[in-house]
Subunit: 349 residues, 2 copies
């Protein structure tokens, strides 16, 4: 495919076309993904999530800008995912406020996804797009998504490093949402740190991390946190060379004026070093690919089912379900049996 | 199953046990669901969603209380779903603030789900629990969930009537999130209406609904809205008897002191009447059951795949994927072919 070659040589037009093919989940798009897959596995994927109003977009722009300042040879991609905005074009709005400095930088590529109708779901589409950027030689891929629900957690699970952005003082009730999202955070950012309540939010997040450490819940398995207050090493005792765990830092920023951005970029680099040193880079990569294969297997099984079981058979069973004659589980069992044996249990009664 | 009989006779203890069996997705739970399915289809399921801090819990409590005042014979269930709180017990916190009046009411049953690990996903578990309440004779089932992402949209899609709760003045950025969630709203509530910006939020939501009407996007198919400003009927012209569409009303409430609650309950009843009159009640029921069967078919296909394809074969292919020798899509194709033919394409090379 000539398009892939052009893309690999740096053509932005070719890249843009491949992204569109892949986002539309066309057969050509899948062929392109297969062809470019050998070139993937190098990019540092960074997920940024947080509630609406937390200033994520500005933060992402500033991080991209800082990464470019630090590494003039690095290419940076931004994927902005807004699953909540199907018809007002929230993503377009997001684009409009992207810094001009980024838009004129030939080493930066910004891609927005507003469509909720992405085939196979937004997480699948985001993963596919990040593979394209990866193969196109982008060193950093920033994935920005509105954070709250499970689907956003799925999206950030595609990343090596996940940044959760918070904002001071949205009321008491909001603190319940932070707890769940904390679990996925490698770096926590309290943005708008000049607003009242920033110190309180920072303290709160730090105490939540400490609580997370103390809980023995097996669901809290991603970060096996070390003691918040490490005991001072005794004098003359050689420092232990244990593999350190990653303790998510809580950082304060004011994205609009750039305060704290450099420090966050430093933590991103620290996290990458930690991932590489501990073998977690490879583990994360294998985890992401396993999820991709799993989703594809599921999609394939379902599409074969749909192609093989006659629609009127499905409709007949569903109408029995609607009349409460057959339970949903019995209907599903019959349909799957039909798909696998070719024998229609409904007719053989 | 004696438990089902006891539950149908009104035993709260039996109900509680069945809910637990079903939530844990045990085989007994599935058997119970099959047995109680014929008794379902009567309850009015009402989804309530909105951002954290919008006062959803208080609103839900007040709605339940008002429903009970209006209909002393009605039974009301509350299912509180918090997918974001796996380890701090957000749901337990939610319980703590439930009104005492509700807790002492034998016609009210409150059930919280905090666990993200619900087998088959939270939407599946919520659907199953609401079937239990339905079969147990509950007339109203209020399903409360944190709203923002796709998974919450899935949860409210289980409801006949969806209420989206908003709160005044969370900044400009938040307005992008409202757009997507608007699409699922049958009733919009601006809670904390005594806060500054309530009128502005109300106007904004009304204008969004108008925009939604004007867009020709096919994704906006759920509510075919009529003109916001209807032309005045000409004098002497007989009123047309066309089936009216449902125009989502925007209501203001102060849940903490009860302001506007009665009016929201009235809109809920209006929506129900509209659903019944237009045949949308049956359509919605059929849609929900179709989704349930679809999910069960998918789960069954995947579990058979996992039981039939040897794990070491999966691992061998995944390791080829990790080394970029085989693309995820090629791996998935091979695994599905193996599952369906029993022929190992990897060995036959």
């Amino acid at each position: 495919m000539a398009l892939i070659d052009d893309m690999r040589k740096g053509s932005r037009l070719a890249l843009s076309r491949v992204l569109t093919l892949v986002e539309n989940a066309s057969p050509t798009g899948q062929a392109a993904l297969n062809q470019l897959f050998p070139y993937t596995g190098k990019a540092h994927k960074i997920g940024i999530t947080g509630p609406p109003g937390s200033g994520k977009s500005t933060l992402v722009n500033k991080l991209a800008h800082q990464l470019r300042l630090n590494e003039p040879a690095a290419k940076v991609a931004i994927i902005a995912v807004d699953p909540t905005s199907p018809f007002t074009g929230g993503a377009i709005l997001g684009d409009r406020v992207r810094m001009l400095a980024l838009q004129n930088d030939p080493m930066v590529f910004i891609r927005s996804m507003a469509s909720r109708g992405a085939l196979g779901g937004l997480a699948t589409a985001t993963q596919a797009l990040s593979q394209v950027f990866d193969a196109a030689g982008y060193d950093y891929i920033l994935i920005e998504t509105v954070g709250a629900g499970q689907s956003e957690v799925d999206i950030v699970n595609l990343a090596h490093t996940t940044i959760v952005v918070d904002v001071p003082g949205l009321g008491d009730d909001i603190q319940s949402i932070k707890a769940g999202i904390l679990e996925i955070a490698d770096i926590l950012v309290v943005n708008k740190a000049d607003h009242p309540g920033a110190d309180q939010s920072t303290r709160y997040l730090r105490s939540m991390i400490r609580m997370g450490h103390r809980t023995s819940s097996p669901s809290y398995g991603k970060h096996a946190l070390k003691e918040w207050q490490e005991p001072e090493p005794k004098e003359n005792e050689p420092e232990k060379e244990l593999e350190p765990d990653w303790l998510p830092p809580v950082m304060k920023t004011i994205a609009t004026d750039g305060t704290g951005i450099m420090e966050v970029v430093e933590k991103i680099q620290n996290h990458r070093s930690w991932l590489e040193k501990t073998g977690n880079w490879e583990k994360k990569d294998a985890f992401i690919l396993r999820e991709v294969v799993k989703k594809m297997v599921t999609a394939s099984l379902v599409s074969k089912f749909e192609a093989e079981v006659p629609e009127d058979e499905i409709e007949r069973l569903l109408s029995d379900v609607n009349r409460r004659k057959v339970s949903p589980s019995e209907a599903a069992t019959q349909l799957v049996a039909y798909n696998r044996t070719g024998i229609n249990p409904h007719l053989s009664e």
